[in-house]
């Protein structure tokens, strides 16, 4: 199990991470979600011992990652966004080299190599020079490198960036497979991707962990308070009424044909029944009350932009 407690990191005076705490259990695939600059890469670099934290701690199976011991490095596999590869080497010679560098015996490397090649679908490419591989295959070689030494924790920074749709589907399968018996942390700014591959999502905003939970749990946070309303009435009058209402936190008009008016409304809490009753009392005929189609995307945008309180 990996435990992150009050992780804080400053770049000079700038706080890139502020009191981030979470844990990852055996067999869990965690998605670290956030816009560019949210603190995802900083978190990952601290988790794999590449960078020290200004404050807080990270422990893997009880051992402090900050100590960066050799034993700890053998238990962590890291793939940065741009896979660092020795491009002049062939796939198999590179993986052999990395296996040995991670402390594996020659015999263990030879046993592990076919397993990793199969896991990352690199069959037939073993003897190809990495420089001649496509971006998608290089990503796979990067993942193969990260798991070559069979680590307990695998950290993948933006593993699907730059991949085509077919490669993305294959990468999802690989990530799900990696999660079997290991802890996997995947960073991304792509919400649908994270929901498809991860068991749990952590949302970072401005270096702070603003939300954590499953897709359903995150959806519930906003779903109860956000509705799309379509009423019979003047659009201008409807908007004016919403703006004047003390329990309406935010309102976005939606274009509809006359004589109807529509808007996406964020309420302060789940007060839908009382709110609809007030709307009827105000003379607006209720035509439709629905949950937004792009609800999850909205949640992500809301959380990452700070439109929704943590």
């Amino acid at each position: 199990m990996i435990q992150v407690s009050n992780l804080t990191r400053y770049y000079g005076e700038f706080p890139a991470l502020r009191d981030v705490s979470f844990d990852v259990r055996e067999g869990e695939v965690i998605g670290l979600l956030g816009l560019n600059g949210a603190g995802k890469t900083t978190t990952l670099r601290i988790l794999c011992g590449l960078m020290s934290a200004s404050r807080g701690s990270v422990t893997l199976d009880g051992t402090d990652v900050g100590s960066a011991t050799d034993e700890l490095k053998r238990r962590i596999g890291f793939l940065p966004e741009d896979p660092p590869l020795y491009k002049d080497m062939t796939v198999s010679s590179f993986l052999r080299h990395m296996g040995r560098l991670k402390g594996m015996t020659a015999a263990r490397v030879e046993k592990r190599l076919p397993e990793v090649i199969a896991l990352t679908n690199l069959q037939g490419r073993e003897h190809q020079v990495i420089d001649t591989l496509s971006h998608g295959f290089r990503k796979r070689v990067g993942i193969a490198m990260a798991v070559m030494h069979d680590p307990r924790l695998v950290i993948l920074d933006e593993p699907i960036s730059g991949l085509d749709p077919v490669q993305i589907v294959e990468m999802r399968k690989v990530i799900r497979q990696l999660g079997q018996g290991r802890m996997v942390i995947v960073s991304s700014h792509n919400l649908p991707e994270v929901t498809l591959t991860c068991d749990r999502i952590l949302v970072l905003r401005d270096g702070k962990l603003v939300a954590s939970g499953t897709e359903d749990e995150l959806a519930k946070r906003l779903g109860d308070a956000r509705i799309v309303l379509t009423v019979r009435g003047e659009q201008a009058a409807f908007e004016a009424w919403l703006k004047a209402h003390p329990k309406v936190e935010k309102m976005n008009p939606r274009p509809v044909a006359n004589p109807y008016a529509s808007a996406v409304v964020d309420l302060q809490g789940d007060i839908r029944e009382a709110f609809i009753a007030e709307l009827i009392a105000a003379g607006f005929g209720i035509r439709l009350v629905e949950v937004p189609d792009d609800e999850l995307e909205e949640i992500f945008l809301g959380l990452t932009r700070g439109e929704v309180s943590a």
Binding site: S52, A68, D70, F78, L101
Partner: protein
């Protein structure tokens, strides 16, 4: 083991593609040219003087080769991000530096060995002792080792290979012209600065076939000092 793994990898990378072979070929070409123009000049010379000139003129291209082969060591790894592979592996900074140093010294040893046909010609056609040849080559490897250590240090400081080359070049040239700088100062600085001269003060005896232990110690000290500084740089960067 880790030192060997890194050295093996870097040795292969140094000779991968056109760059490594072009550099080796260029240095050998210049060595041959200098040997023909200066060492084998038409004025009458003893064989040992020809050999002495050979070592003297070969040392220059060897120093340049040492710097050029090392600039990629760390700068390129940082530029391409492959430094992460080493830092996240259970390998100490000392092992990384020693591995890279061993790789460069391997390449430089091969390069130096390829010049052996010139002393061999003097040996066959003239009268020189094998000891003179061996000591001369020891000196060449000594100056190459010190220059490589300086090059590794320069390469560890910056991301750009060009900047690394300039930085290492400036450091090596400064140590080369120490004998000249010493003349501009007053005692006791004169002796101290002159003693730091990388070539003039310490290589002469090797080229003459004289094994002076203080010269060996000097090259070993410069090598050790710069390799240690490089290790410190790597360690410090991690905790920045």
């Amino acid at each position: 083991m880790n030192v060997w793994l890194i050295a093996k990898r870097d040795f292969g990378a140094a000779l991968h593609g056109l760059w490594g072979y072009a550099l080796v070929a260029s240095v050998l070409f210049i060595d041959g040219l200098l040997f023909n123009i200066f060492a084998m000049e038409r004025t009458a010379k003893f064989s040992h003087e020809v050999l002495e000139d050979f070592f003297y003129y070969t040392s220059g291209p060897t120093i340049i080769a040492a710097v050029l082969f090392t600039i990629r060591s760390f700068a390129e790894e940082r530029q391409t991000g492959t430094e992460t592979l080493l830092v996240t592996s259970p390998v100490s900074e000392t092992e990384i530096v020693l591995g890279k140093y061993a790789a460069v010294m391997g390449v430089l040893s091969v390069l130096t060995l390829l010049t052996a046909y010139m002393p061999a010609m003097i040996f066959v056609n003239g009268k020189v002792s094998p000891g003179h040849i061996a000591i001369g080559y020891l000196g060449l490897l000594g100056v190459a080792s010190a220059s490589a250590a300086i090059g590794l240090f320069g390469s560890s400081l910056v991301k750009s290979q060009v900047a690394a080359a300039i930085l290492s070049g400036v450091m090596v040239v400064t140590l080369l012209i120490c004998w000249f700088l010493a003349e501009l100062t007053d005692p006791p600085f004169t002796d101290v600065i002159a003693g730091l001269a990388l070539h003039n003060q310490h290589f002469q005896a090797f080229s003459e076939g004289r094994l002076v232990s203080s010269n060996l110690v000097f090259y070993a000290t410069v090598t050790y000092a710069f390799l240690m500084l490089t290790t410190r740089i790597l360690r410090g960067r991690r905790w920045q």
